[in-house]
Symmetry: C2
Subunit: 395 residues, 2 copies
């Protein structure tokens, strides 16, 4: 070890060597460079809707600022927003959820940190699918617990199953994280599988954390909320994706009633409260005119998916099952490459199309996969496919 290495290893917490940056960020920086040079880039790497925040929500945010609603809210959130979220569960899912169980958070990120901070001891294991949302394993690592990625493939819709959970469970396992619709695969857990997973986790004495941030963005079937199966689960949701409020940083956690006091005291300490203007703005997110706008957007996302899925298959990508939600397609690119990272770089440099390499979502068969996000217009998607066609089949 050279002296610098020793200094390097002592100067920083060990967890930082397990916490990965988003690899796509380097790609995005390179894309911006190319654009600055005058190159046209089709962006299919971005996990953020291209639509603006709906106008009624913007208007409510402006009104809140005009009225001076900028002081701290209670740590659990504005009471009227917790009420509105509860009313949304009744309206959309026919579920009566007490507003007392709803905790408004700084993005789904805040909700994840709360749930894990409350539940998981250091050294305990949390099971999750690989591929999956990369931050999950880093949140678990932050609090000195062990994220266990379970390789999943199209056979289970890239989702965990009761069998996979049972197989990987051991004495140190205390929780399972699931997502439906999932990032990066866009797949759903159907109500039966959802119920079976909840029952298995609870039978094993564990806790279930369910990521439902892509609810509302479903084009085939219906996304069931885990709350319809059990009151003893932790459900993460967000105003970012369906509601189009990414940069506002607002989400929520639904916790079992007995954990709300703990969520309150942890929230008080680690973030005080979610953004006040964002909370007032979000009060307009459930209004009929907002929902009408969001449903139009959902239809547009569906058109994009319905175009992109066969187009990618025609190009030679393998997408073995039809993703039903979110705005992602997870495509097997092994016909073209053994290394999806260099492939993504080549596609950017030579075809002017930005996509995300599988390595951003885990390790399992990551080098065979890339993620396409349809967060850009149908026209752009078509242009992207033309470019890929020319690049992949030029010889």
């Amino acid at each position: 070890m050279k002296p610098e290495d020793i200094r390097e290893s002592s100067r920083i917490a060990r967890r930082m060597s397990d916490i990965q940056p988003f690899h796509v960020m380097a790609l995005l920086a390179r894309a911006r460079e190319l654009e600055a040079q005058g190159r046209s880039i089709i962006h299919m790497e971005i996990g953020e809707p291209d639509f603006p925040t709906p106008q009624p929500v913007i208007a409510a945010g402006i009104r809140a600022l005009q009225l001076g609603n900028i002081h701290y809210t209670p740590a659990l959130g504005l009471p009227q927003l917790r009420q509105a979220i509860a009313a949304f569960y009744l309206e959309r899912y026919g579920l009566g959820i007490s507003p007392a169980r709803i905790i408004v958070t700084p993005g789904a990120s805040g909700a994840l940190l709360l749930a894990l901070g409350i539940l998981i001891n250091p050294g305990e294991k949390v099971l999750m699918s690989d591929p999956g949302y990369p931050c999950n394993r880093h949140f678990v690592r932050l609090i000195e617990s062990l994220p266990i990625g379970i390789g999943t493939d199209s056979a289970t819709g890239y989702q965990l199953t009761p069998e996979l959970i049972a197989k990987h469970w051991d004495a140190m396992t205390t929780a399972v994280m699931i997502a439906s619709p999932a990032n990066p695969t866009g797949t759903l857990l159907d109500p039966e599988n959802l119920r079976a997973i909840v029952e298995k986790v609870h039978a094993l004495g564990g806790k279930l954390i369910s990521d439902e941030i892509y609810h509302g963005l479903v084009y085939q079937g219906e996304a069931a909320t885990t709350l319809s199966v059990s009151d003893e689960v932790f459900v993460i949701n967000s105003f970012s994706k369906y509601f189009g409020m990414t940069g506002w940083r607002l989400g929520w956690l639904v916790a079992p009633e007995t954990y709300v006091r703990d969520a309150d005291k942890l929230a008080q300490n680690i973030f005080l409260a979610a953004s006040t203007p964002a909370q007032y703005a979000a009060l307009a997110a459930f209004q009929p005119e907002t929902i009408a706008i969001l449903e139009q957007r959902r239809t547009e996302f569906q058109r994009r998916r319905d175009y992109l899925l066969p187009a990618l298959r025609n190009l030679g990508f393998d997408v073995p099952i039809n993703p039903q939600g979110a705005f992602y397609l997870y495509a097997d690119c092994s016909r073209f490459t053994k290394n999806s990272e260099t492939f993504a770089r080549d596609v950017l440099e030579h075809a002017g199309v930005a996509i995300t390499p599988g390595v951003d979502f885990g390790n399992y068969e990551a080098q065979r996969h890339v993620r396409f996000a349809y967060t850009t217009s149908l026209e752009n998607l078509m242009e992207g496919m033309r470019r890929l066609q020319a690049f992949l089949h030029k010889s």
Copy 2:
């Protein structure tokens, strides 16, 4: 152990039994109850300026929303805001800080979590003064490290000294947290002590995290930034207090250059980015017309302090040194009580004045102390003192 207790102890992470709620929250809830019954309550418990966000900042926030600036920013923050913060260091402190070292965060809370997450391993000790900002020890506990509160009193201005740090340092200690101006005591570290502390911590091989969120709210002397002493420190700051942007949830971290990449990847994973509308609004925080408003407010805070300090002493509270900044007075109430918690409750119930018991800031002589916040008008403070006079000296 009854079966419920076993369930209770296994259902939740152990850290939660060390993480305390703000005791003042129960008091605040009781105050609201009394107000709902028609009682008048003077609020001197609230750690939030009573002033609105300055109008130019509100206007910039509204403009950002009108322009649709609601998408994610880079994890390190808007480049132009990082520039503006750097320019502020040059203007106010005559210090050239590279914008590359400035990381915009969701409140100072986000900055604290970043700094600790990057630096501190589980089991390692972090020294801090007791009394102090209560969240500090809970952040340290969240990541499975050990907060070590060092009892301080008026002899050292309630601040750590090189001697205290050396005395409490052991092989497991890796960092020290300081704050100037401090909560709850309002005291400053003068430049000489600041330098001596930095040198001591670095000589011991540790890291220094310096909370400067009350900078700008100084009424006597000048608050030196730790950045003027060393580039190897971690400085936390905030738009909440001096800039009057509490509910927007925006702060920043200045990190040594070699840590910025780590801060970037941790920020990407644990909060993605700070609120976008808040970041655009904050661009107006450094404009001359905003600063003029803030300086008027500072003068008003000073008038309040200059009234409240002798008034409390006249009533029989012991405030042994003159607090120079923030908007708090930390008062010894042992002439009236042996238990500052019941004292704060009695003062609320019988005098209609809400104050914060010492226990919210640590353990050291907490039962002898209460905190008075002068975040309400001079008139209200005067009425509060009349009520306290009547209550304390009625017999």
